[in-house]
């Protein structure tokens, strides 16, 4: 328990702003919003595509039984 409390305390006190990308900052609000929006877009887009295809394959797998035609021909 003391270890857990210490870990929480460190997590609360130690983190600081990390200027990891020197170009991803601009005083203008429009520019910051554009960076945020495109980061979210490019992060979630591939995940969404892979999830979408996975769900489609699962649906197709349930639709066609082992002895049925696949419907492509």
């Amino acid at each position: 328990m003391p270890v857990f409390a210490l870990a929480l305390l460190l997590l609360a006190l130690l983190p600081d702003v990390a200027a990891a990308c020197p170009v991803c900052f601009d005083a203008r609000d429009e520019n910051r919003q554009a960076f945020l929006a495109t980061t979210v877009f490019l992060s979630l887009f591939p995940l969404g595509m892979v999830t979408g295809v996975g769900m489609w394959i699962r649906k197709r797998s349930r639709e066609i039984g082992p002895d049925q035609e696949d419907g492509w021909e």
Partner: protein, 200 residues
């Protein structure tokens, strides 16, 4: 275990069931290619959004650069959308009777060719007005994004022309049509996003 009992064991096993493919190889390969292309266009659009947000005073197009033909391109966009819709009809016609798919496929190709030719005419006019790759980041992004899409459209049209050639000889398979259609649907469906971000 004797050879006789091993053979008997094999014979008592149930026959393996041959399951049809969930996705044809061609369609799967095309989907993987389309994913990479979507990320390519996603990257271009993201870069365009960032650069546009950095323009002082939000003046877009920048001073001295011509305005893009929004209205004319909207008509061209409608032609491309119609081409995609007719290709869906082509698929259903092909499922009923391949011979009945000839006319919708050639209409779809014609509408797609109209789109590419109209884009070419638009480029000639814009070059005449002074918008070039090097005239500004506005021009650079326009030719890069719209040009990349145009090249994809051209490639897809060549593939559809090949599909029509095979269909005319009764050699086109459903897998081939599905693979080529997937690419054309990508070209059609990505365009409204590009139009919204680049033209509007």
């Amino acid at each position: 275990m004797s050879a006789h009992s091993a053979t008997a064991n094999l014979e008592s096993r149930p026959e393996p069931v041959r399951r049809e493919k969930l996705i044809p190889n061609g369609v799967m390969g095309m989907l993987m290619f389309i994913f990479t292309e979507l990320m390519f266009f996603g990257g271009l659009i993201s870069a365009h959004t960032i650069v546009r947000s950095q323009v002082a005073g939000q003046m877009w197009p920048p001073f001295g650069q011509p305005r893009l033909p929004v209205e004319q391109t909207a008509v061209n966009t409608a032609a491309l959308m119609a081409s995609g819709f007719v290709l869906v009809l082509t698929w259903f016609a092909f499922r009923r009777d391949p011979d009945r798919a000839r006319i919708p496929l050639i209409i779809s190709i014609g509408l797609g060719a109209f789109f590419v030719l109209f884009q070419g005419a638009e480029w000639v006019a814009l070059l005449g007005e002074g918008l070039t790759m090097t005239s500004s980041t506005y021009g650079g992004f326009f030719y890069l994004i719209v040009g990349a899409h145009g090249l994809h459209a051209l490639g897809a049209l060549v593939a559809m022309g090949w599909a029509w050639y095979k269909l005319d000889r009764g050699q086109l398979t459903g897998h081939q049509l599905a693979t080529i259609s997937a690419f054309w649907y990508f070209v059609v469906l990505v365009w409204p996003l590009l139009y919204w971000r680049v033209y509007l």
